[in-house]
Amino acid sequence: MDELSQTKVDSSLADEPRPRVIELRDVSLKADRGGHVFRDLNLSVETGRSAVIIGSAGSGKTTLLELLIGLRFAETGTVEVFGREIRRRRRGAIRKIRRKIGGVGGPFGLMPMLTVSENICLPLVLAAERKRIKQERLLKMLTEFSLLKVASKYPSNLTRVETSMVQYARASIAFQPLLLIDEPSAGLDPHSYERIFTYLTREALSGRSMVIFMSEPPEAQIPNSDTYRLVSGALE
């Protein structure tokens, strides 16, 4: 699995300030029903590092994720992903950012009219990758995530675990440099969660940046990661 998502990190750059994958500065956002979802929220994730954001239900984890993929927009402050500011009416820029992001859970779902294989391959289709490469990577993903038997099934015929696995496979097939995960344990049995946690650890070690949104802190620390708590619209 790690072989597929390796991103080479130059060790000589380890001590130098690395470019930031995500930079949120003084972000504020009002809730639809009044009050603030975020108030002067700041977050910075360097290339090759990850952020684990822990917050209770309704604390704004999914809203924060939506800010990062341009589904919502900050009222004040700036949101930058891969050095590009996410703003309204910048559809082209948002589209390019989204192609570099692999997403699991939350707003990221599967295309109901596409088979498992087709769903997994979509990022490669959008990247206009060659057919041979597509087939090679697809086979590896199906094998790594134990999806060979359900490759031709439609999402409506999958179990929750299989659905999650398909999302992880899709989020990894195109070597997207940033992985956003909303509740990695959702829908997974203990065995599957262990597999996914191992996967996340390998991804983190390989230098892939991740932002993981969780309700409860993980049992073990994810390498190269900083943990934040989302409380009252700010990160602690």
Partner: protein, 286 residues
């Protein structure tokens, strides 16, 4: 290449999963365009009929009684010089008498051999550009202005009536055209909207992965293009088939030329693409 393959696969899925909608769309558009084609043929045929009637119009210019026969040649030359006059033919008193005899069947002027009361005249044929009420009126005014003429006659009332009828047919065609094309656009857009409504979730997911609007909407736009183009072609094929089976001996039916029908089908196909884009664009709003 992989993206093009995906787009055409999506197109196939659309048609495979919604064959009823696609077929209903195709049939309703075929009927609409068939109606439009029939009106097109009717308009072309009536226009041809109108033109053939117009081409028979002649203007009669009567020569004043006091003009000597020696001056007639000059009058003819003057008339031929008038703008819009194609040919000129002199009709002498004797020729007028023979014509009257031919029309009535008996010589009414027996005994008037020495003093034929029929006037001398010129028969003018008119160039196509002047075969209108305005054009003929202009020729009438110019001919009347000549001193040696004593009256100018042509089927003014009939011409005005014919022009009025032609104008009504044109207006009707315009209204019918607008109605049919509006119906085609709305119908196509609605069909695509119905087909895509259930897939809004999927579109949202594709956009989250970075798919552009064009990428998502292209299969539907291509579908609209093909269905509309096919419907227009089917309308013409039906007419072409009917043409081989039915013949009219009294009227010459005027069919549009092949290149005109090709242009029409292409334009309709483009219209279908635009309608499909309108149909899907609402689903692609985030």
């Amino acid at each position: 290449m992989i993206r093009i393959v995906h787009i055409f696969k999506e197109l196939g899925r659309n048609l495979w999963r919604n064959p009823g909608t696609a077929l209903a769309s195709l049939l309703s558009l075929t009927l609409l365009f068939l109606l439009f084609d029939l009106f097109w043929i009717a308009a072309g045929t009536s226009d041809q009929f109108y033109r053939s009637l117009l081409s028979g119009i002649q203007v009669e210019v009567y020569v004043a009684e006091n003009v000597p026969d020696s001056a007639v040649v000059q009058i003819g030359d003057d008339l031929l010089m008038l703008p819009g006059v194609a040919t000129m033919e002199f009709v002498s008193r004797e020729q007028a008498r023979q014509e009257l005899t031919r029309l009535v069947g008996t010589d009414l002027l027996v005994g008037y051999d020495e003093a034929n009361p029929l006037p001398r005249s010129f028969l003018l044929t008119i160039e196509d550009d002047y075969l209108t009420a305005t054009g003929l009126q202009e020729i009438e005014e110019r001919a009347s202005a000549l001193e040696a003429t004593d009256g100018v006659y042509y089927s003014r009332g009939w011409l005005e009536k014919a022009e009025e009828t032609k104008s009504i047919i044109l207006k009707l065609g315009l209204v019918l055209g607008i109605l049919i094309f509006s119906t085609a656009v709305i119908s196509s857009a609605n069909n695509i909207r119905l087909m895509t409504r259930a897939r809004a979730v999927g579109f949202r997911q594709m956009m989250l992965l970075g798919a552009g609007r064009a990428f998502i909407s292209l299969p539907f736009i291509i579908e609209g293009f093909f269905i509309s183009g096919l419907a227009a072609a089917a309308g013409w094929l039906t007419i072409m088939y009917a043409r081989t089976r039915i013949g009219f001996s009294q009227i010459e039916i005027v069919y549009p030329l092949l290149d005109e029908t090709v242009i029409f089908c292409s334009a309709v196909a483009l219209l279908g693409a635009v309608a499909s884009f309108l149909g899907i664009s609402r689903q692609l709003r985030e």
